[in-house]
């Protein structure tokens, strides 16, 4: 019988309350991915820095479907790739490369998420990337990094290039590959990923028509991006817009094993 993540003993008593909360929120983020149709079986990854240990982060047990990931089954690693927790599953090597690159290069980032959705892979494969189409897209206007594809990201050399390409941004198109977002909190990275995904889906639907578009002026795009940036720069400003607690309650109502 396949190993079931939810049957592992809880490690709540062995970690700090802050780490436990981070584990619950990160496990919830994994569970939201299939809920919103953004999953790729056991592929892709989301990581969160361990509170109080900036050189350590949590990542998925490779081989567990996202809708089965639990707080206790998340694997703790350091930036050198040493596994610091016990468990039957390994870490995805490509996941380690991408996440250690982002987290070690960006002390302001607590959480990084990466997907291989149809819309994300498609937009990341078209020259020009994301088109500034709607109000929702303006969050990413002149504010979306991109990183050329180099093959499976298990080459440590790629770390430096990922860091250079991400620079100060919090969202990136991984060309021919997918999407990446990061944020100062887990919920911020989630909201950004949700919105970027929706922008990609909209672009595909719009641009497939080949029709003439209503294009917002550069001035309006700049102004709106600035407004979003100022608005979201205030700590906690996005906390109601993202409805994070509400999402977690809905998850828990259906299956609260992510909190285990």
């Amino acid at each position: 019988m396949a190993l079931d993540a939810a049957s592992l003993p809880s490690i709540e008593a062995q970690v700090s309350p802050e780490e436990w909360q981070t584990r619950i929120e990160l496990a919830a983020f994994y569970r939201l991915i299939p809920k919103h149709g953004m999953d790729d079986l056991v592929g892709t990854h989301i990581s969160a820095r361990v509170p109080g240990h900036p050189d350590q982060f949590l990542i998925n047990p490779y081989g567990v479907l996202f809708d089965e990931i639990t707080a206790s089954s998340l694997i703790k690693v350091n930036m050198e790739g040493d596994v610091l927790s016990d468990g039957p599953w390994p870490v995805n090597a490509a996941g380690f490369t991408i996440h250690s690159a982002v987290l070690s290069g960006r002390p302001d980032v607590m959480c990084t998420a990466h997907t291989h959705t149809i819309a994300g892979m498609a937009v990341s494969s078209v020259e020009g990337g994301l088109t500034p189409l709607t109000q929702k897209h303006m969050r990413f206007y002149k504010n979306l990094a991109s990183h050329p594809y180099e093959g499976i990201a298990d080459d440590a050399d790629e770390c430096a290039r990922l860091q250079r390409d991400l620079a100060g941004h919090d969202a990136m198109l991984l060309e021919n590959h997918g999407l990446l977002t990061c944020g100062p909190t887990i919920r911020a990275a989630w909201a950004l990923l949700y919105n970027l995904e929706k922008c990609c889906q909209t672009q595909l639907a719009v641009e497939a028509t080949g029709a003439e578009l209503v294009v917002p002026s550069e001035e309006l795009c700049d102004r709106t991006r600035g407004m979003f940036q100022r608005m979201l720069a205030k700590p906690g400003a996005g906390d109601r817009l993202d409805a994070w607690e509400s999402s977690l309650r809905l998850l828990a109502r259906e299956d609260d094993s992510f909190m285990h």
């Binding site: 109000q135 909209t202 639907a205 719009v206 003439e212 578009l213 209503v214 409805a243 607690e245 509400s246």
Partner: protein
């Protein structure tokens, strides 16, 4: 900040605090939120549906800020005035910026009870097309010559924009917010839902048809102008008589069976 996952509950007994008419209105509006969620018309905590509260006070009901549509109930809807100030404190907050578009319509159009705004992929998609909504299907003919357009001016916090929103809506009940999304209204909640549902489906099917047409070079066939207008008039006449549609009771029965907490 520690995560609090306890269900936020109203701090007062809302049912006891409001008129029976208002309670009934709250139950209907909560049902609208749940139906929209079921049909994938959500955007996390963004976008809102608002409703004129019964009575002469010009008060409105809107969703509690920070809750997904799936968690909206009759009791946690927040009653506000036209400026977004809370007039019945039930312990929940509102997003005043999100009410700007709604308040513009509510102030100008006494005949409209409910205003619904979405950011769906299909709605945002058609909102970017210069051609707008095509008179392509039976669903979209409902809106033939009865659909307004409002150009995007940035995030709608500017009170000047209210005038232009109202002017653009004119006497229509539905409007495409360019580069932004959909706005559907109704003289009742069921009517707003019927409009929203039909416009969403119209947008989704149009985008698909246009993509096929572009890829294959086969043109989209549109009904003749006489058929367009005839269909539009017939639908208007049929729906103009009844503000409660045939589809609403069945949908309510389904909600009552599957998620009856919306009525609490």
């Amino acid at each position: 900040m520690p995560l609090d996952l306890s269900q936020p509950l109203p701090t007062i007994d809302v049912k006891a605090a409001v008129s029976p008419e208002e309670w009934e209105a709250r139950v209907e509006l909560a049902a609208l939120y749940r139906l929209a969620a079921r049909h994938g018309m959500t955007d996390l905590g963004g976008t809102h549906f608002s409703m004129r509260a019964p009575g002469p006070e010009h008060h409105f009901l809107i969703n509690p800020y920070g809750l997904l549509f799936e968690e909206v109930t009759a009791s946690n809807l927040v009653k506000i005035d036209v400026d977004g100030n809370i007039v019945l404190d039930n312990g929940f907050a509102v997003n005043p910026a999100g009410f700007t578009i709604h308040s513009a319509i509510h102030m100008a159009r006494e005949d409209l009870v409910c205003v619904a705004h979405t950011h769906t992929v299909a709605g945002m998609g058609v909102s970017c097309l210069k051609v707008g909504l095509l008179p392509m299907t039976q669903h979209s003919l409902r809106f033939h010559n009865r659909l307004s357009y409002h150009d995007w001016e940035g995030v709608a916090t500017n009170l000047d924009e209210r005038e232009r929103l109202v002017q653009d809506l004119g006497t229509n009940n539905n409007m495409i917010l360019r580069n932004h999304g959909l706005l559907c209204c109704g003289r009742s909640v069921p009517e707003a839902w019927r409009n929203l549902f039909a416009l969403e489906k119209s947008c989704a099917s149009q985008l698909q048809a246009m993509a096929i047409s572009k890829a294959t070079g086969r043109p989209i066939v549109l009904p003749s102008e006489a058929v367009r207008q005839g269909t539009s008039d017939k639908l208007e006449e049929r729906h103009g008589k009844a503000t409660v549609s045939r589809d609403w009771p069945g949908q309510i029965a389904k909600l009552d069976r599957e998620e009856p907490d919306y009525k609490t």
